[in-house]
Symmetry: C2
Subunit: 233 residues, 2 copies
DNA sequence: GCATATAGTTAGACACAACTAACTGCTTAT
DNA sequence: ATAAGCAGTTAGTTGTGTCTAACTATATGC
């Protein structure tokens, strides 16, 4: 990564700002050791990070003295923490993720999610919190059901099929479920796992579906389409 | 980053696998130049990545020959693409993000989101797609409204307040909205931007709220709590 | 008030993933 | 059939962020 936008913070530097903010809020100032412990890095790594942050005017830092945030550093940290918060709330309140995994997930995603999407997610959370209890129950049941479907911890691939695709979308075949005539037809064309499928048109009720695959054009009945597991682009 | 889990792929390597999968699906094999163009990197970076991926048995690679995925590489790529897909759908269908930003966001988050959360998100999407039209309209209206609230592209901080906090939660003060008696009371205690607030208890209807702040304990009426803007931990 | 413990810094190394520049191999057009 | 052009590779450099080891400052206890 040679080209750098000087005003962009790396995930790592955002993490430092975040823990500095909390340390300052709790104790008035942040110490190197506290930061190192929270982030599970060596003290020397903290020193290095502080030098960069100071040079970018995000922290007040002099060797051997306690660290505080500049106004700009506070803003920056606050932005990160907000993204963290909205993600964690979404994970726990909507998706039913347990507290630990939600925290862990928020810590990772907070550095990548854009301000726009984070703000929309916050808007969504307002809506979600106002949802009637019955809807929330239906939602969490829907999620739990879909979790049960593929219990294997790291399910290789999902279960969407050609029948789920919208016109114009592309996907790759993962598995042909049926062993009927269709499987043979496709096998004859040399089409199996890894082949690209593009949906051209879907008739009103999803039957038939016209697809393009390796130059061939064919029409599938819905039942057939459902037997072709894909991953969508 | 010295300690490495050998079976963990970096974001960068996941990107390579992803574009290799699409290239193979479309053309039967991936060429270095195509990969380089898609990822906006130099060809030499692709060669380096391919050597690593080959060593990890994720691609079939011999110098100067076209690249394909191993079975394991396909699985790995498929997992990434699925996470990508569910994120993009969520952004466009639920949050109303435009296609470009959704794609961009999915590209960034796909490398960080856990399999568990991605699967739950997929479950949520099933629920969301089945939502009645009226609910979807209400949802998108809710999101647009909250977007309008702080139109500044990169709004410094959010608008949640002490009144939104649940017992046990901590937050940092961002701004004291009112200039009334409370502002003076808090200022006298040396409490302003950056101070840590912890909610101890909330009375039935959210009034009053007992908080702890720099050792002080105080009770706020709901209106007062609403005038203290915070960012929640 | 000095010895010692702990906190913090500096120096040097390494992993990763990009880059440029120079070189090699393959293909194709005359 | 060979030269030109392009694709691909190798070698060497850079930036970021971590590490260990050795050193320096500050604080604490007697």
């Amino acid at each position: 990564m040679t080209q750098r936008f000087v005003d962009t913070l790396s995930a790592s530097l955002e993490d430092y700002l975040e823990v500095i903010l909390w340390a300052v809020a709790a104790n008035g100032a942040a110490r190197v050791r506290d930061i190192a412990n929270r982030l599970h890095v060596q003290a020397s790594s903290v020193t290095a990070a502080l030098q960069v942050l100071a040079q970018r005017q995000l922290v007040h830092y002099k060797p051997y003295e306690a660290v505080t945030l500049t106004a700009e550093g506070f803003e920056e940290a606050a932005r990160v923490i907000q993204r963290h918060h909205v993600l964690r709330e979404f994970f726990t309140e909507v998706l039913g993720v347990d507290v630990e995994a939600a925290e862990e997930g928020a810590c990772r995603l907070e550095h990548e999610i854009s301000g726009d999407i984070a703000r929309r997610l916050a808007g969504f959370m307002e809506y979600a919190k106002a949802m009637p209890q019955s809807d929330r129950a239906a939602l969490s049941k829907s999620i739990e059901r879909s979790m049960g479907g593929s219990a294997e911890a790291d399910s290789p691939v999902g279960r969407s099929t050609v029948a789920d695709m919208k016109p114009g979308r592309q996907a790759v075949i993962v598995r042909i479920g049926s062993h009927g005539e269709l499987a043979r037809r496709l096998a004859d064309m040399g089409l199996g796992r890894g082949a690209l499928v593009e949906v051209e048109a879907v008739a009103p009720l999803g039957d038939p579906i016209r697809i393009r695959i390796r130059g061939y054009r064919l029409a599938l009945r819905k039942a057939e389409a459902r037997s072709i597991a894909v991953i969508e682009k």
